[in-house]
Amino acid sequence: MLIKLAWRNIWRNRRRTLITSAAVMFAVFFSVFMESIQRGAWDHMLDNVVNFYYGYAQVHQKGYWDEPSLDLAMPADEAFVQRLRQTPGVQDAVPRVETFALAAYDQQTTGIMVVGADPAAENALTRLQTHLTKGNYWAQSDSPQALVAEGVASRLQIGVGDTIVLLSQGYRGVNAAGKYPVGGLLRFGSPDLNKRMVYLTLPVARQWLGAEGVVTTLALKIPDKQTAPGVVAALNSGLDTTQYEVMDWQQMIPELVEAKALDSAGNKLVMLVLYIIITFGILGAILMMIKEREREFGVLIGIGMQRLRLAFTVWLEVVFMGLLGVGAGIVLGLPLVYYFHLNPIDLSVMGEEAVKTYEKFGMEPVLPAVVEPGIFIGQALVILIITTILAIYPLWRLARMEPVQAMRA
């Protein structure tokens, strides 16, 4: 009954309802759009780095992350690896030997990161093979070829079939120098990875570094991103933490996690201001509504309608106006967000400068939107809360209303 009454009431002044709802619609539409793009861009970037290199969690010898030295590598202990694999939530523990090195070809040198990887396990974890743009993936687990990221290749002006020279410091300070044929080129979404990655097979890398039987990193394959923190916590309590360190991706790239937080704080501020303004708009509409219906309210109270029920009707009216706007905003926003989810915004149309700037910040110049129900539900909740708080005002007015005076108005 009351619902029907409230619904009819808001259409008694159609224009005002439409304008008020339009304001809400605009705020919802804009917020949804902005948040979807922002979240999408960051997730895309983090996924680029996390999925294609770090993995959601890693295990090292204690202290390795702060001082990444081969001397802090750990013995490749099969029993330990098995134990990691049997941890709930972990599918595999992928061994790697990682080190910085100098790569040279002809007159060019550049600093790079060498990863000694197990071809099959690495491919299962980071789908390395799908990044191959030229040449072939390793045929055997000890193939001698190096797979070189495109950025490194263009810097060295090296191609498939050429021989890359890798110089580094090996295990316990031995000199590491080796020549490897380039077997393939890799393209990574993250410009940062693209500029510095070179992959060898694990046995070849170990031989080069004189690091037989050790690994620097065990990257954990965790199929569900959400479970990563739980897995890390479980491992941290189960393993000997004086000997090992377990880190999730948020600990490994804190600067990116924080940059995301900073960026979304900026967006939240814009949304906050937007919603404050919308709040005033709705408040204005409520004021007008009460004023022009003072007489009607007086009569209703006079003939015995409970003030609380009347207040509830008014609250319903305000909420209806708000939800109408939310609905319209979502109907308008969803297709657009979905469109940009399928067709990410490509910033390279903004020119060379934009691309380079994004690269400098480690981002691909591509902004895909996420379609996440949470964002839409969040907007509806915000509007519901705002309208509910605003409904306190008519409640207060109605409580103080003198029916006789109101009827004379």
């Binding site: 924080e258 900073l262 708009g281 400068e353």
Partner: protein
């Protein structure tokens, strides 16, 4: 006359008008803050890029380019540097040898850029000497010293007086190595730079690299950035063999930052103004509809449509103006205060350092921006007035009086 009427009309419905004004005050205030904040951020980014790394102008071998190939170097004898320094626009210059190489401590290797610098010149141009946090800056007293980043030193387990080895290609493409001793640790606040750069004396580096007077880069700091174009031309004349570029050409992100300030300000303004627009239309429409009777009467006794239209528009303008003035004042007070105290973003320090931003942001806003804000309100008010005013002049006096 019309203004007085319009002004009085606004106050006939005080609460309603005050609500709209409050929305405008908050909108303008927030805009002033947001724009000044992003302006402050962009300025600090650009100025720290110029002061700490780029300088205003740089000269390179024309083919040096993005690949930074070591064989494309310039011959920069002391005399040539002096010539450039004597130009009226130039405050200071310095020359650098830039090589890609590997740094090894006893424990681990790291790919880095080796910068061979003239200690005095570098101190004058980028004030590197002020960024030493442990040990000492390069000096002639101690031979074969190297400066490395504080964080890099931690990661590589190096300390003051540690011996490190630099490995790189010399001018003929042969792999060369030289031992240095850590003389000092620096911290510029830009993490990628600190983790990827080491400094040694240019003469010592050139002994290993090959040509004695080689430099891959000459950085020129100007007395007055306004003279950029003139200075660039003059320096180019002086260094005929080199390619002289200004900081905008050197670092496209600086250019982008500068150009995006206006873009992002415009986007902010449009969003907030659109949100305000709905409130203004609603209020004015209500003001017109509840005065149907009165407006009909006014027109019946001979007030022409133009004047009625003007009155409604004026009312909207006054209403919005009355909100924007306190908003601008509040914004100005806030910005002026924050300009001095700054905003501390050190809780985001990791990402700020990652992107080479300083942790203190000093918001600032120029007069031009305040004018833009005021203009935006006027435009919004006019846009918001059209529909209600049109509604007002469309009424038929006879019907409206009988309303």
């Amino acid at each position: 006359m019309l203004i007085t009427i319009a002004w009085r009309n606004i106050w006939r419905s005080r609460t309603r008008s005050l609500v709209v004004m409050a929305a405008i005050v908050i909108g303008i205030w927030a805009l002033a803050f947001m724009i000044s904040f992003s302006l402050g951020m962009a300025r600090s980014y650009v100025s720290s890029a110029i002061e700490n790394s780029l300088s205003h102008l740089q000269a390179h071998h024309p083919q040096f380019g993005a690949d930074a190939e070591a064989r494309y170097y310039l011959d920069v004898p002391i005399e040539l540097q002096e010539e450039v320094r004597k130009l009226p626009e130039v405050q200071n210059t310095t020359a650098r040898t830039l090589l890609t190489g590997m740094l090894t401590t006893g424990k681990s290797p790291r790919g880095i850029q080796i910068r061979g610098i003239d200690p005095a010149g570098e101190a004058a141009v980028t004030r590197l000497n002020e960024k030493i946090v442990a040990g000492a800056y390069l000096s002639d007293d101690n031979r074969r010293q190297i400066l490395i980043g504080e964080r890099l030193a931690q990661k590589m387990g190096a300390k003051i007086r540690s011996k490190v080895v630099l490995t790189f290609q010399d001018v003929h493409g042969n792999i060369t190595a030289g031992a240095f001793r850590v003389g000092g640790l620096f911290n510029t606040g830009n993490r990628p730079f600190d983790e990827g750069t080491v400094f040694v004396d240019r003469r010592e580096l050139n002994e290993l690299f090959g040509p004695a007077d080689a430099a891959h880069e000459m950085a020129i700091y100007l007395r007055d950035p306004e003279t950029l174009a003139d200075a660039q031309r003059r320096v180019q004349q002086e260094l005929a063999d080199a390619k002289v570029e200004n900081y905008r050409e050197l670092s496209p992100d600086v250019l982008l930052y500068e150009s995006q300030i206006q873009t992002s300000a415009t986007i902010f303004i449009v969003i907030i103004m659109l949100a305000l627009l709905f409130g203004i239309i609603n209020t004015m429409l209500m003001a017109v509809l509840e005065r149907y009777h009165e407006l009909g009467m006014l027109m019946a006794i001979g007030m022409n449509k133009g004047r009625v239209f003007a009155m409604i528009v004026l009312e909207t303008l006054l209403l919005s103006g009355a909100g924007s003035l306190p908003g601008l004042l509040l914004g100005w007070l806030t910005v002026t205060r924050l300009q001095h105290t700054g905003i501390d973003l050190s809780s985001f320090s990791q990402s700020m350092e990652q992107f080479g931003l300083s942790q203190m942001v000093y918001p600032s806003l120029n007069a031009d921006m305040y004018l833009q804000l005021a203009a935006a309100v006027v435009v919004t008010a006019l846009a918001g007035a059209i529909y209600p005013a049109w509604k007002a002049i469309r009424l038929r006096p006879v019907e409206a009086i009988g309303h």
